[in-house]
Symmetry: C2
Subunit: 332 residues, 2 copies
């Protein structure tokens, strides 16, 4: 059937092992024979069998990536960061989405283990029922979380400064005199939701202001949530002069609803997103938001993972990338 090291060995007269080493550029093989071997390899149309190599070396050069929500371009960017960095280190990625389901997440991790991945990068979901944290803690391969964390495993995370970022948004709005700020929070199962709420409370507390729970609404973080929640808030007569969102997708839905209800942005209502998706600058009006270095979130996670793969004794330590406010047309 297909060409193997054996065939190259036969063709060149060297042993299989020498061929293997030559193709891997082992310095113990002389340049001249390496040349001969690699030339005949291409001549014969040799295709290395990575599976067999993985099996023997027990290193698959593959890492498993557990992404959260395929509908959000945020994750596409993070994954691009992971992928490009992985390629740079000679790794490939096995990718799957949980769509924010903790159950699916556990299944995926187990599947990755069967596939003998060398490490895992995840954007995890909280889960009180199934022992999620235990699953990770018991892992025999290195793992890194990116953009999110899991309680008790913070050391494994590459984060962005959620508390500070969201606090800055609310401080900005409060300082401009807004007293009725509607906040569209994220799903309760992800760490960012929690941290950003903390940031909000800090902002209110620092100013001695009271935060009315009616102004906090949880959502899954999709466009239609932002749209529906804003409509609903207007229908029940909630008064607000600003809306801050857990992410840009929600904010896009918000903009749509406000427009349909003849409210002007930013004149009647100021709107803030979070994430700074590429497309947010093209919204109508363009969206003020918090920039999160998505690509970098992915590449740092991958770099960290590789470091842990190569040195099993390396201590895990939380890393952080910084955020910054971006002011566009949706705020004054």
């Amino acid at each position: 059937m297909s060409i193997g090291l054996k065939d190259i060995a036969q063709s060149t007269g060297f042993s299989v092992n020498t061929v293997s080493r030559a193709l891997r550029k082992d310095p113990r093989i002389s340049n001249s024979t390496t040349d001969i071997i690699s030339r005949t390899a291409t001549e014969l149309g040799y295709i290395p069998n990575a599976i067999a190599a993985s099996m023997r070396s027990s290193r698959s050069k593959t890492i498993g990536v557990v992404s959260a929500d395929s509908a959000n371009p945020f994750f596409s960017e993070v994954i691009r960061g992971i992928e490009e960095t992985a390629r740079h280190f000679g790794y490939h990625i096995l990718l799957a989405n949980t769509e924010e389901s903790a159950k699916k997440e556990a299944e995926l991790v187990r599947m990755f283990l069967c596939r003998q991945v060398d490490g895992i990068i995840a954007m995890p979901t909280y889960d009180k029922e199934s022992e999620h944290v235990e699953l990770y803690r018991g892992l025999s391969v290195p793992y890194v979380f990116t953009g999110r964390y899991l309680d008790g495993l913070q050391d494994h995370s590459v984060l962005h400064e959620d508390v500070e970022g969201q606090r800055a948004v609310i401080e900005y709005l409060l300082d401009k005199g807004h007293r009725n700020i509607l906040y569209l929070a994220g799903p309760k199962k992800v760490s960012n939701t929690h941290d950003r709420l903390t940031g909000i409370h800090e902002a209110y507390d620092a100013r001695g202001l009271n935060l009315d729970d009616n102004y906090i609404v949880h959502a899954m973080g999709h466009i239609e949530d932002g749209y529906a929640i804003t409509n609903h808030a207007l229908n029940r007569g909630l008064e607000f002069t600003a809306i801050a969102c857990f992410n840009d997708m929600l904010a896009m839905g918000v903009l749509k609803s406000l427009h349909e209800n003849n409210l002007s942005v930013p004149d009647d209502v100021e709107v803030f997103g979070y994430d700074n998706l590429y497309m947010s600058q093209f919204m109508q009006p363009s969206l003020s938001t918090v920039d999160v270095p998505k690509f970098r979130l992915g590449s740092v996670a991958m770099e960290t993972l590789v470091a842990h793969i190569e040195d099993g004794s390396l201590q895990y330590a939380q890393k952080s990338v910084s955020t910054r406010l971006i002011f566009r047309e949706s705020t004054r």
Copy 2:
């Protein structure tokens, strides 16, 4: 180190082979022993080694997916279709993006071959230089293209009706009296660009109208292209009353530019996108477009691929999913 079939065999007293068969639910093993074996397997915390299984069975249960542009949610949807269908058939996907680079595409395909994928799904790019078509034609594993085709390999494609879809858009605009329609075409390296241009010509020809080349502008298909091209067209004083775009991303950029130039959509200019991205209905104004069943494009491709993996003698035949026009606020 880790638990293998051997350990389960020792623990239960059965042979390694029997254990292997039992765990694969081979009917030749009685229910009682299957029970015993699978119970002790979980007790021992057995994790199957998919790599070793792949090696021996020469079936990796993995398919390689070559996606085109990670920045376009269109592909995310297609991939979701692939992924869910793959899972249903017991396959997993190895994913990578070409970002429309033919060179990268060839590298990826070769990498997938090394990884012993059972098949490949690609969204391919044309390439006259490197022998792209030859690469695919010489493949030893089944391959299916989705959403696009390659000249000479049309049989391997799952397509949507590009010619008809784009023609319908232009016919609609022409029939409403528009005579200066700006068309933002896609990158020349993808088949859809070609087909949609064909559709446009058909529309003009059928009405005996002449198509001015100045009204056709090629772009890569990103938001900023739509924005920049529209700005440029306005700056050079090109007159138009409608803009049709190769995709919704371009149209989003177009809307932004028109708004900034104080042109009203749809009163001054009607705008049509293509793809019907989920977010397009939330644009301001919401975007008229051509619906393409993205998820289905992925799932049909995967189903087709599995059929070819399971039956190597199966003839390839082009498949097609249908499109339809969606009218929203960006047209009257």
